[in-house]
């Protein structure tokens, strides 16, 4: 049994998408027509209490048509790829556009572009199906059973055919695959967590991740309560990713122009430690780089924060044109790095620390105030007290109140960037960091 590939149901191929888009373009009477394809095949094996609780496999194709008459736009989509349904979808889009008001920000679809060809579809991931997922779930469960612990987690794979086409001659098609594994190990009331996501299912390192989660869960059994307050911290890459996800989301150029952005007036200014750089690295093998965006724009390497200085905002096409920006960089493959001499591992960060809180992961991070990017959230599944270079105890989970712009103003120590996966944000490359101050505002009961 395979998830996709050459066996039924076959994924929409480049030639089939070209045929479908030509069908729409030939029949469209609009000034501009744009078609996008998202043919998604995915499966998840979910487990809890050391057994599979959910095992699913889904195929969902989606074709979206946007048409424009004199700056009046309409968009319709369908999951039915038959000729009749596609004609009906085009008609719905046209009927909407004909009665829509003129959009003063409308721009025609982008011109043709030779999109970079990236290795977005690893054969081993595209071919992985329910048996492979079950095998990984079983591996994690087996390790936990041997230790008399409880495993809860998920193994997922997906393969997607993505396409964009327009009557400007724009055409892009690529296959994208990804695989992910996450595990929460329960040792009585204590928990430990680990996760991975990659283009290649072979890189999930299920056994290694399982042992990490088990180690964290066991260490979390001996727990003490510390008072809320400011502490030095070591943030593991997943925790760094959670905080930076909100910083990245706040880079919207339109909000910047309108004065409703955290960063209003700060383009070209230092916003974090001068050794920090944030880049888009779509060619990095461990990130989810893509050839093009949903808007039909190419994904290219770009620098967003250069040695602490904000250099780039996330533009929509209208705002970019208004501001005279020729290129609109994407940020689907973020890589965060710190210049200078790094330590070798998180273990080394711990060894060099006199006293700090070690945070494995954050949970339910939400903005409290977008003016200064004040965030709140909880530590989760592995929070420890470090004293004299050793983990001495787990601590009850804290709620934090902190802005990444404040917290990352100065970094004491850091590792090289590592793969960072957080359940609430996209994968990034990020270092583990030691920060001098972090504000924990309250403590929970476990």
């Amino acid at each position: 049994m395979t998830l996709n590939g050459d066996k039924w149901p076959k994924m929409t191929s480049r030639e089939e998408f070209r045929f479908l888009s030509e069908l729409v373009l030939t029949r469209s009477s609009a000034d501009h027509t744009m078609i996008s394809l998202h043919d998604h095949h995915a499966g998840t094996t979910r487990f809890a209490n050391n057994q599979a609780i959910q095992n699913v496999d889904v195929r969902q194709g989606k074709l979206t048509v946007t048409v424009t008459f004199d700056g009046r736009q309409g968009t319709a989509s369908t999951t039915d790829f038959t000729a009749g349904a596609i004609q009906e979808t085009l008609s719905r889009a046209e009927n909407i556009a004909k009665v829509s008001p003129v959009d003063p920000e409308y721009l025609p679809p982008p011109d043709p572009y030779v999109f970079p060809a990236r290795e977005t579809a690893k054969p081993e991931t595209m071919a992985a199906g329910p048996p492979r997922r079950l095998e990984y779930a079983n591996e994690a469960i087996g390790q936990c059973r041997m230790e008399n612990l409880m495993a809860a987690g998920a193994v997922s794979t997906s393969a997607t055919a993505v396409g964009v086409a327009a009557n400007t001659g724009l055409f892009g098609y690529e296959r994208r695959g990804d695989a992910s594994f996450s595990l929460t190990v329960q040792a009585g009331d204590a928990t430990g967590w680990s996760a991975a996501a990659h283009r290649s299912i072979n890189h999930l390192k299920v056994q290694e991740r399982t042992l990490t989660a088990i180690r964290r869960a066991k260490r979390s059994r001996d727990v003490c309560e510390l008072p809320a307050g400011r502490y030095p911290v070591i943030l593991e890459p997943a925790a760094v990713a959670g905080l930076w996800a909100w910083l990245i989301r706040s880079l919207d150029a339109k909000a910047y122009v309108k004065g409703t952005s955290t960063f209003a007036g700060k383009l070209g200014e230092a916003i974090v430690d001068e050794r920090i750089t944030l880049q888009n690295s779509p060619d990095h093998a461990d990130l989810f780089g893509e050839g093009f965006s949903n808007d039909g724009l190419p994904s290219t390497p770009s620098v967003w924060i250069d040695h602490g200085i904000l250099r780039q905002l996330a533009y929509d096409r209208f705002t970019a044109k208004q501001r005279g920006e020729a290129m609109i960089p994407t940020l689907e493959a973020p890589a965060l790095s710190v210049e200078g001499s790094s330590v070798d591992s998180i273990h080394d960060l711990v060894k060099r620390t006199e006293r700090a809180i070690l945070v494995t992961n954050f949970w339910y991070i939400r903005p409290v105030n977008l003016r200064d990017l004040m965030l709140t959230g909880m530590t989760r599944d592995g929070t420890f007290l470090i004293e004299n270079g050793e983990i001495v105890s787990a601590v009850k989970n804290f709620r934090f109140h902190e802005s990444p712009l404040q917290a990352f103003r100065h970094i004491n120590m850091w590792t090289a960037p590592m793969e960072a996966v957080n359940s609430e944000s996209r994968k990034i490359l990020a270092p583990a960091v030691a920060l001098p101050h972090f504000h924990f505002s309250s403590v929970t009961r476990f």
């Binding site: 999951t79 979808t89 409703t260 929970t444």
Partner: protein, 485 residues
């Protein structure tokens, strides 16, 4: 209603499941239409019409689940997907420790239809776009308002549920919502104020009954007042919370912990577990005697009132918290027997044909008390009145929470005085609900709903309504939501 060919597909799938030796199976065929019109900064930014058709087959084989789904509705694809679901279930069974046993449910053959006065899909788009443009113009008429947004949303779900047990239920459901917001700027600060209708199972009359232009004028004025308002001083305050605000507090601090699958560890890896563990049922003091939280999936127009859930279980009404004591869970046919309940509460829902149903929060509402809102306010010397939703966060067992809001007024000596900004409050769930000493009467009861309740892997969006009258909470810790307050 559903197409006659859907019944043919259902028969085909169930025949394959029966032939496999599986003990249970069902199929959901669904055709959903969503229309979303979004306005931003005085323009219509997008009008989208999304049609989503497909089917999902669920199989229980030797006590283990398999599920497969597809957007291709054809005589070739239905048996392929049914066979795949069986094969996946057999894989799950190979590592099953404890076999799934479904709670009994009578066989239902029924049709469920949302009754509406005005079909939202029949209202001309020009009329809807005009309403949004006029709303945004009204927002901008207020000096100090820099940005605006307005949107309308409508959804129709046609669905067929058929099970190997003989249940056959057709659905034709509607839901709608509309909203607008103003963002004001003042001395480099910005603040937003929102108006939204509840998400309800009603037609376009929901939008027509809300006076968008009057509400736009109100929220624009309040956005400017809010951005210029003094920041709150941190400290202990009595809080009076309005129904819209309470809908989120109820959702996060009562709704999620009352999901039995969480309490049993099913969500340990993602959404989390629950401090309302099964040993606490019937004895645990969750809140003060003023606090009764009732699940009611039978109340007309509410989001979870769909007649039947995706287990084919009839919607019900039951107690979650009775006079402060925790007494009941939201359940499905799989988890109900694990706590000795003979019948599911009918809270098993998927967000579409492509997802497997999971336990979701019911329409949980706070039972009205006997005071008037004025009486609640009159007894507050130093407090804050909070409306709407703002920042929110809660730990994975649902103890430690923090909420903001959309608008805040200082209460002094029983009177609402001026607006405040940057108010957030913090609490531990049972401590907070035990500080509730008054709930307003039924005349002040309002309903608000959610369509974006995230849970499950892969993630799904749950729909439910939470009703409440304003309620008062004593001595709650309030923080200032800026800087390091």
């Amino acid at each position: 209603m559903s197409s006659p060919i859907w019944d043919e597909f259902a028969k085909l799938a169930l025949k394959r499941i029966a032939a496999s030796g599986a003990e249970y199976g069902d199929i959901r065929v669904q055709d959903s239409s969503t229309q979303h019109i979004e306005g931003a900064d005085r323009r219509i930014a997008s009008i989208r019409d999304v049609r989503d058709i497909g089917f999902g087959v669920r199989v229980l084989y030797h006590g283990a689940w398999g599920f497969a789904a597809s957007s291709i509705l054809s005589l070739e694809e239905v048996p392929r997907v049914a066979d795949l679901a069986v094969e996946i279930a057999k894989g799950s069974a190979s590592i099953a420790l404890e076999k799934v046993r479904l709670a009994e449910e009578p066989i239902h053959r029924d049709r469920v239809v949302t009754h509406c006065r005005i079909d939202p899909f029949s209202v001309p788009l020009e009329k809807k776009a005009d309403l949004l443009l006029n709303t945004m113009e009204t927002l901008h008429r207020q000096s100090g308002v820099e940005r605006s947004s307005a949107s309308l949303w409508a959804r129709q779900d046609r669905k067929l549920f058929v099970s190997t047990e003989g249940s056959h239920v057709e659905f034709d459901l509607l839901a709608g919502q509309g909203e607008c917001a103003a963002t004001a700027l003042h001395q480099g600060r910005f603040a937003s104020r929102n108006f939204n209708t509840p998400y309800l199972r009603k037609g376009y009359e929901l939008i027509e009954e809300a006076d968008f232009l009057r509400e736009a004028s109100r929220v624009a004025t309040q956005a400017v007042e809010k951005v210029k308002a003094p920041a709150v001083d941190a400290g202990q305050y009595d809080l009076v919370l309005d129904p819209e605000h309470l809908s989120l507090t109820i959702h996060e601090s009562c709704g999620h912990p009352s999901e039995l699958d969480r309490a049993l560890g099913y969500e340990a890896n993602y959404a989390g577990t629950s401090f309302l563990t099964t040993d606490k049922r019937g004895t645990y003091r969750y809140g003060s005697p003023h606090v009764s939280l009732i699940a009611d999936n039978t109340e007309p127009e509410t989001l979870a009132a769909t007649g039947y859930d995706d287990d084919g279980v009839m919607c019900q009404r039951w107690d979650i918290i009775r006079h402060g004591i925790f007494v009941g869970y939201c359940t499905n046919r799989e988890v109900a027997p694990k706590i000795g309940e003979a019948r599911s509460r009918g809270s098993n829902r998927a967000d579409g044909w492509g997802h497997v149903p999971i336990v979701r929060i019911a329409n949980i509402g706070l039972e009205p008390g006997s005071a008037t809102v004025d009486q609640l306010m009159a007894d507050v010397k130093h407090g804050i009145y909070i409306e709407g939703h703002g920042s929110y966060s809660i730990d994975q067992r649902r103890y430690n929470f923090q909420f903001g809001g959309d608008a805040f007024w200082l209460i002094e000596n029983g009177r609402r005085t001026h607006m405040l900004r940057d108010v957030i409050y913090h609490g531990i769930t049972p401590e907070f609900w035990n500080r509730c000493d008054g709930v307003a009467d039924r005349t002040a009861r309002r309903r608000y709903g959610f369509i974006t309740c995230g849970k499950g892997q892969p993630g799904q969006s749950g729909w439910m309504t939470h009703a409440a009258s304003p309620a008062r909470f004593r001595r709650i810790q309030v923080l200032r939501g800026e800087g390091h307050g």
